[in-house]
């Protein structure tokens, strides 16, 4: 079971510290997205990386439409990884959709988590006027799905299966480096729908674990107003507005991202 979970989610453990720092990637990518950040934490933490089922080098055979029909299925995977590695006092660092996945996991087992670091969180991407503006209309999401479908099915689908079946062959793995991180069209589209049609606003007030909200200055996917909404409704949250722009500060502005996370964890440790 333990091996199954670790293989299913392609779990990788690095670092020389003891406290676990669990990095959870966002939609459209895999654990590689953390590569600019993790070296800064390896000395002091036990760094854990993984791929959600359907992303990176996870076990595609484990994909289950029903289980991953909402974010709870992904949250269950996070809890199972923690259980398989027997983690305690986990600091969860999530990007994009992983922020809500981490929150759901922490609501189910608050004792497991010490802190949540939420990079670009959004509890709901679709607008629900007049009370809530997530940033997108349904038609925008449909357009995204169309673009994904055209790319995955038109092109990536041709060689992705070969890569998946020959993961041990380095020359094919290199070829993967021109493609998206989620290479399976069906799971990628499913993940996109699960992500962008999710509405976890009602879960925010149930959060019990202290958290840091890292908000980019200009982020069309998780706009400032959404980050502020999360801060207002999520108990024990701290809000930090980054200078970084875009949706992936850990890739575009890793130094600033590292500094802010370090500062937060230091404060948490002393305070």
């Amino acid at each position: 079971m333990v091996t199954d979970v670790l293989t299913r989610n392609n779990v990788r453990v690095i670092g020389r510290g003891t406290q676990p720092l669990l990095f959870a990637h966002g939609f459209g990518c895999d654990q590689n997205m953390w590569r600019f950040l993790t070296p800064a934490f390896e000395e002091d933490y036990r760094v854990i990386l993984f791929d959600y089922v359907g992303s990176g080098r996870s076990d595609l055979g484990a994909f289950d439409r029903e289980r991953y029909g909402d974010l709870q299925g992904y949250a269950q995977d996070v809890l199972e990884i923690c259980d398989a590695l027997q983690l305690e006092r986990v600091v969860f660092v999530g990007h994009s959709v992983s922020c809500m996945i981490g929150l759901l996991a922490s609501i189910r087992q608050p004792q497991l988590f010490e802190r949540l670091v939420l990079i670009g969180p959004s509890p709901c991407y679709v607008n629900h006027p007049p009370d809530y503006m997530g940033g997108f209309e349904y038609s925008d999401i449909e357009e995204l799905l169309g673009m994904m479908e055209a790319n995955y099915i038109g092109w990536a689908s041709f060689f992705a299966p070969a890569v998946m079946q020959n993961a041990a062959q380095p020359e094919l793995t290199e070829e993967l480096e021109g493609s998206f991180c989620s290479t399976d069209p069906k799971t990628a589209l499913h993940f996109a729908k699960t992500t962008f049609f999710a509405d976890n606003r009602g879960d925010l007030p149930q959060g019990r674990v202290p958290s840091l909200i890292m908000q980019c200055a200009e982020d069309i996917i998780a706009p400032l107003a959404v980050g502020q909404y999360v801060h207002r409704h999520l108990p024990h949250s701290t809000f930090h507005l980054l200078n970084a722009t875009g949706h992936c500060p850990h890739m575009s502005h890793p130094e600033e991202t590292i500094d802010v996370i370090r500062q937060y964890l230091r404060t948490a440790a002393t305070g």
């Binding site: 997205m33 995204l144 021109g178 998206f180 992936c248």
Partner: protein, 513 residues
């Protein structure tokens, strides 16, 4: 150089890491209805639709930052008048004087996009049609198997009567033979449909080569004796090695090859089953496999027919012949073997015989799974009535199946049968009467057999009553699930009367022990 860039028949755009446009050529600006200087200094998101921005932020931008390049990506740009402009893009990220820039080349693809949309639509329709076909096949196969249960069941019962005339026995044998053939055809059609729909569930585990051969060999032995063919198993140095296979499907494949080799042999001919090692080498590694070989001394197959024999309904040279065959067996074998990451092939010389082979990956040693649960088929049904009176509840909605069960149980007069025609009625009777054994059909009109089983197991009054599941739709996954759910055993329809009586006797024996 600038003129070349501006008049090139492709769009070009360069931006910095934050997405601020540094350079845009005239071609791209023209497509979008802008003057180049209107775009310079703005964010690249100005020429993206909302959906395009999400795609850019979540896919293209990370890809460039992680790998430095992105290739052949379909993208939709937004023109100044709001119109969508379909393009195909290649992009690179490179460092120049300490700063990173992203260079994009765009090719127009509106026409190709329309064509691809049509293809995509056609693919979706084809996939839906394929799913519908599988649903249809699955339903038809169930509907066909239910009456087969009555035909084969009653025929077996008749044959158990000792007072029959030889001519009557012969007639029953014809009914049984034709019925079994029809059942085989139904099962193979269902297999093909499942495989083509990607719904074949395999459990790949290490399996001893000699076990794989022995299981099929023993099952084929009666066929060989009947046909007067000598069936041999050739011992070899690799018999004790493991292959990665689905046990049940491996048995099915080898049995099919052996049955063909027996059927299409010459009188007094022979069939040999053996195993050898093969090594495939490519540039990067040696790939070791075990090859199971079935050789016969039959008529052989003409070279121009060899490539057809693994296609459905191809019975090369045997069409309309006296030998029974569905024409689906080898097609099913090919698909099953490939699903187990193996290969199947044939070498044949007309007039001398054929050599069919199946290659499978070698599995690591030492982690042999528990032996599959196999009913003890060696012990014959005793035919003797059980000592004490026992109460059997049969939950089944089909009237002919109930009648068949009543007739079967005339061979066990000490068993008292009661029947329930729905899941709800079955639950109530089980709770009220606490039978010694429950036979439970999987497909019931009100609630599923699986749910009935759950409720029986969670109810204090019924949790310890043994339950044997009966169904015409026996997928391995379903069998495993129901056994895990607490079913004592699982029997498939059409019922093999002798086998059923053995299971019944064994269960009742256990209870009285």
């Amino acid at each position: 150089m600038n003129e070349l860039l501006n008049t090139a028949p492709c769009g070009f755009l360069s931006c910095n890491d934050d997405g601020t446009i540094l350079v845009v050529n005239t071609t791209l600006a023209d497509w979008l209805g802008y003057a180049p200087e209107e775009l310079t200094g703005r964010s690249v998101e100005a020429i993206l639709s909302v959906g395009g921005r999400i795609f850019y932020q979540t896919h293209i931008s990370p890809l460039l930052k992680l790998h430095g390049r992105a290739e052949e990506i379909y993208f939709s740009l937004k023109a100044k008048n709001g119109a969508a402009v379909a393009v195909l893009t290649n992009a690179v990220r490179h460092e120049h004087a300490g700063a990173f820039t992203h260079d994009y080349v765009f090719l127009p693809m509106s026409q190709r996009r329309l064509y691809e949309d049509e293809l995509l639509q056609a693919k979706k329709i084809a996939e839906e049609a394929s799913q519908a076909k599988v649903r249809f096949m699955s339903m038809i196969s169930h509907e066909l198997r239910t009456p087969m249960n009555a035909i084969l069941g009653f025929a077996q019962l008749l044959k158990m009567d000792n007072k029959l005339e030889p001519l009557q026995v012969e007639s029953i044998d014809y009914i049984l033979g034709a019925g079994k053939h029809l059942l085989e055809l139904i099962n193979e059609v269902l297999d093909i449909a499942r495989i083509e729909a990607g719904q074949l569930n395999l459990t790949l585990t290490p399996m001893l080569a000699v076990d794989a051969m022995s299981e099929a060999f023993e099952m084929a032995q009666p066929l060989a004796v009947q046909a007067g063919i000598e069936l041999k198993m050739q011992p070899g140095p690799h018999d004790e090695r493991y292959v990665q296979a689905d046990r049940r499907r491996m048995r099915q494949v080898l049995l099919n090859l052996l049955a063909n080799a027996i059927k299409y042999n010459r009188p007094g001919g022979s069939v040999t089953l053996g195993c050898e090692r093969v090594i495939h080498e490519n540039n990067t590694q040696c790939n070791e496999r075990l090859r199971f070989v079935v050789s016969d001394t039959g008529l052989g197959i003409a070279p121009d027919s060899l490539d057809k024999i693994f296609e459905p309904f191809e019975r090369v040279g045997k069409e309309g012949g006296a030998i029974e065959g569905t024409g689906l067996g080898l097609a099913v074998c090919k698909r099953l073997v490939e699903a187990m990451d193996g290969h199947i092939g044939v070498h044949s010389i007309e007039g001398e015989g054929s050599r069919f082979w199946v290659e499978l990956p070698v599995a690591p040693h030492g982690d042999e799974p528990d032996a599959e649960r196999v009913l003890d088929e060696a012990a014959p049904a005793t035919g003797e009535a059980h000592g004490a009176t026992t109460h059997l509840l049969y939950v089944e909605d089909n009237a002919s199946n109930i009648t068949l069960m009543q007739h079967i149980l005339t061979h066990r007069p000490a068993v008292h049968l009661t029947t329930a025609h729905s899941g709800a009625a079955g639950l109530e009777m089980a709770q009220d009467n606490r039978p010694d054994l429950i036979l439970l059909d999987v497909q019931l009109p009100d609630i599923t057999g699986s749910e009935v089983l759950d409720r029986l197991r969670s109810d204090q009054r019924t949790h310890d009553i043994p339950v044997v599941m009966l169904s015409a739709d026996a997928t391995p996954a379903q069998i495993t699930r129901l056994l895990e759910q607490g079913a004592h055993d699982y029997l498939t329809k059409p019922i093999e009367v002798e086998k059923f009586l053995r299971v019944l006797d064994a269960l009742l024996e256990e209870q009285t022990a």
